[in-house]
Symmetry: C2
Subunit: 166 residues, 2 copies
């Protein structure tokens, strides 16, 4: 939570009391990890394609629920991240799901503009498939599944630092 | 890696050298987190439904690639986990993808038997959706998206400990 969050406001999250309540209950009781984050799988609501895996802190999850637009926690920039605020590629929430032990979120979205969600310019962040099979003595090979980028990252992000860390 | 892994075998993973290589290259160079794990989104290859979010260590990822059946690292049991070894609900890999910065995996699978992947008995671990909208003063409510379980966990797992941790 950011320092300017109103801590007197009622929390939208229930306390985690028992395995039965967490797995079979009707209250949202998310489990955040040691860094205060929960992973979020984001898919295209119409095609089912996985667009990205992001992370949310409590504020990002709360804002996603209340505004209907995807918010994440940027681990590279260490700040709340309203997806599309810079690029225009806003993700409108169609459905938000929580998993059995409530430590992962699945977001089904409709993406604005070009429909892309990947900072490299592709539609999905998962634009390469892994060759299956036995060891060859060489590193496992990748095959591109998208033939061209949906946008030019330089046009959209300019000189902003690349979030990928080696 | 387990102690009995053959560390003299050639690694199937490339070293991470640059942002360009990681994002645009043709060699698998996964990034494991501080615990040695990479998150894995698993979807039903025919319906696109997200079944689960699991985690893999290097050995689990390597075995998934070489055997064509999903292997994970069980964080609750702290061991390599060949999905379906107990339940029969083997996940046959149809496609394996890696994301832009190679720190997340997307597995498209065909599930054996009942087609379920959730230890609670549902088809997907994401069997509840979150009600969207403004704060009501109450915890956010959940709605079940599957009306009945695909199997009875007691029949399949017997007295094995529940992996959900409060």
């Amino acid at each position: 939570m950011r320092a300017d969050t109103d801590l007197t406001a009622p929390t939208p999250f229930a306390a985690r009391m028992s395995v039965e309540q967490v797995e079979e209950g009707l209250a949202l009781a998310p489990k955040f990890d040691a860094d205060g984050l929960i992973p979020c799988i984001t898919t295209d609501a119409s095609t089912g394609e996985v667009l990205m895996l992001g992370y949310m802190n409590g504020e990002a999850l709360q804002r996603t629920i209340t505004t209907g637009e995807a918010h994440y926690w940027s681990r590279s920039r260490q700040c709340l991240w309203h997806k599309g605020a810079t690029s225009g590629l806003i993700q409108e929430v169609v459905e938000l799901r929580i998993d059995d032990d409530q430590d992962a979120v699945w977001l089904r979205v409709k993406v604005a503009s070009s429909g892309a969600s990947c900072h490299v310019g592709y539609r999905s962040c998962f634009y390469r498939s892994v060759e299956l099979g036995g060891p060859s003595g060489e590193p496992t090979r990748l095959v591109f599944t998208e033939s061209r980028k949906s946008f030019d990252p330089k046009d959209v992000y300019g000189d902003a630092p690349n979030p990928t860390q080696v």
